[in-house]
């Protein structure tokens, strides 16, 4: 038992990540140890083969006790203590609870046999056998796509994982835009974890059986789970580099953005604030880079006369106490949600290079966090809410988002996103589309401008509305129609 701090005199092995016979390498995380103050991953100093686990799980032993014996080639068994990684404050609650939220339309192939319980994280059975057959090229591809090859069932000769297998698995990743994937059935998870031989039809899930990025039964350390929780990552979507594909805290920190549902989904813990911000910056960077890499954006902008909308707001708010007042962005969001009906190619997802329109309109609201970063959770069915309901929903969402209590469903299924940077004083914003969505509408500041109205120049409050559209789903002509529809709707605020 390594000493993980001057005040530590004993520790409890909560989880072994290796078993006798496993080959281990210097730096591998082999066990999870809990003390009164924290939970830590124990790394191993030297390479070798695990001969014996001396201390069973759940047993508390003093510092200095032998935990396990590692047989190095030709060497005597040695204890395997190791310094832990950064001390953790507390063990996270079980991470990655089964996410019941299927991404509508986005992952038809990934919907698992429903209703079966997902496996607990860090389950110790069904270990991934070491030595999955993977060529270096495929391994490289997998790394690039963020796929854990150990979790891909190979279809090549002798169970070899092929390029196609990895690509398919990667699509599974992508299909879950915000990392909230349906919890796979147990059989699916197990199938995915047994890389070489499992037919793709196990669990009746078809191709999905090959994917396990969404498996909640993923092996992970408590520290990794805690980091994942704090950074809002779905741990099941993170490719593990630990023994047997176990997800370590380092993997979580390095995980790409598409698995970050709510990058601030935890109560801020001051000591973790910097790490969290870094993780969020990385997550945003990765997601936006992917968007720019994959989505052929086109951009449009139009100036919308907000005279009527502003007057209507003023009149409406005049008789209301502050708690019931409306802001202009609510009208803009409602208009956007309604405009989708006339140009449905703006609302939905790209799935396998094909646009799938969504029948529902869930408007993602880009909300900036004061500690840095931005996330865009959804207001569900924004088109069906009254303006007052939408205002209440927006207030609630902004408040919760900034407190870090966004719901997974809100992160998983926005069908279109609205960003409003008007309060920051910018005139217009040309946003980056959130994959796999296909459109993002931006509103700038409402400013008074000279405008010609019926042959006379008048001063009117105006806003610049922009559209970032995905050329795979629509073109500029349709995008123009969409902005025109928004404009049209904002001219009749009382009907919104």
């Amino acid at each position: 038992m390594p000493s993980l701090g001057a005040d530590m005199d004993a520790g409890t092995v909560t989880t072994w990540l290796v078993k006798p016979g496993d080959a281990v390498h210097r730096g591998d995380i082999v066990a999870i140890v809990e003390t009164e103050k924290s939970t830590m991953e124990v790394e191993i100093f030297e390479a070798g083969v695990v001969e014996e686990l001396v201390v069973p799980e759940g047993e508390r032993v003093p510092v200095g006790a032998v935990l396990a014996r590692i047989g190095a080639p030709g060497a005597a068994p040695a204890p395997a203590p190791a310094p832990a990684e950064a001390p953790a404050a507390a063990e996270a609650p079980a991470a990655a609870a089964p996410a019941p939220t299927p991404v509508p339309a986005a992952v038809p192939t990934q919907v698992p046999a429903a209703g079966k319980p997902a496996r607990r994280p860090a389950a110790r059975r069904d270990r991934v056998p070491a030595g999955t057959v993977v060529s270096p090229v495929v391994r490289h591809l997998a790394e690039r796509l963020g796929v854990d090859v150990h979790r891909v069932a190979g279809t090549g000769a002798g169970g070899t994982v092929t390029r196609a297998d990895v690509e398919q698995a990667a699509q599974g990743h992508r299909a879950a835009p915000a990392g909230v994937a349906p919890a796979p059935a147990q059989a699916t998870a197990r199938a995915a974890r047994r890389p070489a031989r499992v037919p793709a039809t196990v669990g009746g899930a078809g191709p999905a059986a090959r994917l396990s990025p969404s498996a909640t039964g993923v092996r992970s350390s408590p520290l990794a789970r805690r980091v994942a929780e704090e950074t809002g990552l779905e741990i099941a979507a993170v490719a593990g580099s630990g023994p047997g594909g176990a997800v370590t805290a380092r993997d979580v920190a390095a995980a790409p953005a598409e698995h970050a549902p709510a990058a601030a989904a935890a109560e801020p813990a001051p000591s973790d604030a910097t790490a969290r911000q870094m993780a969020m910056r990385r997550a945003i960077g990765a997601l936006m880079a992917r968007s720019k890499r994959e989505i052929p954006h086109y951009y449009l902008s139009t100036t919308i006369d907000m005279g009527r909308a502003s007057a209507w707001l003023e009149e409406t708010n005049a008789t209301r106490p502050p708690a019931d007042r409306l802001v202009a962005s609510v009208l803009q969001v409602k208009a956007t949600a309604l405009a989708v009906a006339s140009v449905p190619e703006m609302n939905g997802f790209m799935v396998d290079d094909r646009f799938e329109p969504s029948a529902d309109v869930h408007v993602g609201m880009a909300i900036s966090l004061r500690t840095g970063g931005v996330i865009a959770p959804a207001i569900h069915h924004a088109d069906r809410l009254s303006v007052d309901e939408l205002m209440a929903a927006l207030r609630d969402l902004v408040t919760r988002t900034r407190k870090g209590v966004v719901r997974t469903s809100e992160m998983s299924d926005p069908t279109i996103t609205v960003t409003n940077l008007g309060d920051l004083g910018v005139d217009s914003v040309f946003g980056v589309i959130y994959p796999p969505q296909v459109a993002l509408v931006g509103f700038g500041r409402v400013v008074e401008r000279p405008v010609a109205v019926e042959g006379l120049v008048g001063v009117r409050p105006c806003v610049t509305a922009t559209l970032s559209g995905d050329h795979r789903a629509s073109d500029g002509h349709r995008g123009g129609r969409f902005l025109a529809a928004i404009d049209h709707l904002l001219q009749r605020p009382e009907e919104l």
Binding site: E314, R325, D423
Partner: protein, 83 residues
């Protein structure tokens, strides 16, 4: 309500609306909204908080008077009455 009461009230309400915001960092010539990066919903919540504690209506047309800290203090003291 005197100036100190008003400032304390502003601090309390801002603390609820934007816990990270530091009132002392707002310069005399700066607007609260810009200095503390408050969006329109934050500002509305701020106005709502002042309304709840003082009973003042604070109609939208008065918002400009609340732009700066000093303006807020003046508005609150005048509205509630110096007592």
């Amino acid at each position: 309500m005197n100036d100190d009461d008003a400032r304390a009230l502003i601090r309390t309400v801002l603390g609820e609306v934007a816990p990270e915001a530091d009132l002392d960092s707002v310069g005399a010539d700066e607007t609260i909204q810009e200095a503390l990066d408050l969006d329109s919903i934050d500002f509305l919540n701020f106005v709502g908080g002042l309304h709840d504690r003082t009973g003042l209506e604070i109609p939208e047309r008065d918002y400009p008077e609340l732009a700066t800290v000093d303006g807020c203090i003046r508005y609150l003291v005048a509205g509630v009455g110096a007592g």
